[in-house]
């Protein structure tokens, strides 16, 4: 199949400019999920808060760590992790769950990609309340490095986009990949320093962290939240992956975009 770089790019640009549509879709998705509940999307916030508080206090005690350092660390890392992993799992279904629309209308498919990413960004900001409370309690310092949360988040979003495009396309054709992804992500949560810190790991397994994309992509948001600057290596690593990831996504997208309506 001939790649159509032009139409793939046009799709992405058009889709991005259609922010009013995907913005609306993202909001509506959240609204629908919590319709007729009292506290709406804050249900995730609440259950996340309880989870982090219980686990944080428990593990700080077990590992003999200071709760005021461990809790904010766990909380910030877990919040970002939830955003990344939910985006990826929902991203697998991005195209085939929109079968009704794709078979009725011609529209830029990237709009669907944006709406998945946007929806999870909204949820992230709801959940951020938990971190603000934990941070207040634990006295997390706000420094100049805190500002790095903005480029960190932007870079994370940029990565979410290419990953969702790629996963969405692959899963559209091979439905097993969604299951594979959720297993991989479940495992990765324990292999990536979310619940434990890099210091606890020791030298032997350090490459588990150094070459772990998920660690770096979480850390460029987590560290600024904790008032620290992420390491230069994290920026470089994420930057390089962003570049090659986008190239891969665009290559696959330009080749198979027009097959999506046949595959679903």
């Amino acid at each position: 199949m001939q790649p159509q770089y032009g139409s793939a790019l046009a799709d992405f640009i058009e889709g991005t400019l259609g922010w009013r549509m995907w913005g609306r879709l993202g909001w509506l998705d959240i609204k629908r999920r919590y319709r007729r509940t009292m506290i709406g999307p804050f249900w995730t916030t609440l259950s996340l808060g309880i989870f982090i508080l219980t686990l944080g206090i428990m593990w700080a005690h077990l590992w003999k760590q200071d709760a005021t350092t461990y809790l904010p660390f766990l909380c910030s890392g877990f919040l970002v992790w939830v955003m990344v992993s939910t985006t990826l799992i929902e991203g697998c279904a991005v195209f085939f769950s929109a079968e009704g629309l794709i078979k009725q209308l011609r529209f830029p498919y990237s709009m669907l990609v944006w709406s998945v990413v946007w929806r999870n960004v909204i949820v992230f900001f709801h959940n951020l309340i938990v971190f603000l409370l934990v941070g207040l309690y634990a006295g997390v310092s706000v420094t100049w490095s805190t500002l790095l949360v903005v480029p960190g988040l932007l870079l994370l979003i940029l990565n979410s986009l290419w990953m969702v495009i790629l996963l969405g396309l692959i899963c559209c054709r091979f439905r097993d990949i969604q299951q594979v992804m959720s297993s991989i992500l479940q495992l990765s949560m324990f292999v990536t320093p979310i619940f434990w810190t890099t210091d606890q790991l020791g030298k032997r397994l350090i490459s588990l962290v150094d070459y772990n994309f998920l660690f770096h992509v979480v850390d460029i948001v987590r560290s600024p939240l904790l008032g620290k600057a992420p390491s230069l290596w994290s920026w470089v690593f994420v930057g390089v992956v962003t570049f090659f990831g986008w190239i891969a996504a665009l290559m696959v997208f330009s080749r198979f975009r027009r097959r999506i309506s046949y595959w679903i």
Binding site: L105, R106, F174, R175, R258, Y262
Partner: protein
């Protein structure tokens, strides 16, 4: 000026049954050297839905597509809308396409009538401002009154049809693609619905209508094609094509 050029279009649908999964594709690669697959056809099953379709429409053309179930009418409409990019051949669309295959793309039962007017309207290509402008018209046509503030899952089927129809027919199409399924409801509604469809068609520069009904095609179109098994077997004036269609029916019967 709007135009629609379909040139030598062929559409094959891949059929993914057992070989759909990742496992098979993976095994096909890894075990390829040991277990031979019997040629391309055994690996890929596909159905030819359209074959060598060509036509050329410009401003003022109203094309009726007639044919039996499974003749390829809906697929051809979807090719014209850009939903399916043809396997071979090209489709050149010049102008805004409004496909009306279902009256309410993106309709969600839990959203209120007003929210659905917004969402469906945007999917049909209107800007939020245009939708606000058209909302009174939809309110009036659908006669739903205060129900529009309630979730649409509380509507009766008839109410839902009225809402969907009201939204779908308020667009200003250039190239209008219609599937005959549009329109239902009680007798009074049917009459009003027909009027609205007529007005909608009037506004369109090009119309492509798929239907089983020769009466509908006679009333609305000035050109026609007869499809069978994914091929055009007759093309030309409405009367001639309908005559062919009747002959086809007789030969089958």
């Amino acid at each position: 000026m709007a135009s629609l050029v379909v040139d030598n279009v062929t559409v094959d649908f891949p059929i993914y049954g057992s070989q759909k999964t990742f496992r098979h594709a993976l095994f096909a690669k890894t075990t390829g050297g040991f277990i031979r697959r019997e040629g391309d056809n055994n690996e890929r099953v596909s159905v030819r839905a359209l074959e060598n379709i060509s036509f050329n429409l410009s401003h003022g053309d109203r094309l009726g597509m007639i044919g039996h179930n499974g003749a390829g009418k809906s697929t051809l409409l979807r090719v014209c809308s850009g939903v399916y990019e043809p396997t071979q051949g090209t489709v050149k669309i010049d102008g805004k396409v409004s496909p009306l295959f279902s009256t309410s793309p993106g309709l969600d039962g839990d959203d209120s009538g007003y929210e659905n007017i917004q969402t469906c309207g945007m999917f049909l290509g209107m800007t939020p401002e245009e939708i606000v402008q058209k909302t009174p018209e939809i309110e009036e046509f659908s006669e739903l009154g205060d129900y529009l503030s309630l979730p649409v899952r509380t509507y009766s089927t008839g109410m839902l049809v009225r809402l969907g129809f009201g939204i779908a027919t308020c667009i200003d199409p250039e190239i209008l693609l219609l599937d005959e399924g549009l329109g239902a409801g009680d007798a009074r509604f049917a009459e009003r619905a027909n009027k609205r469809v007529d007005a909608l068609v009037e506004r369109a520069s090009i119309l492509v209508l798929a239907s089983h009904s020769d009466a509908l095609i006679k009333a609305m179109c000035n050109k026609a094609i007869l499809l069978q098994g994914g091929r055009i077997i007759a093309q030309g004036s409405v009367d001639d094509v309908i005559k062919e269609y009747h002959q086809l029916n007789q030969s089958v019967a």
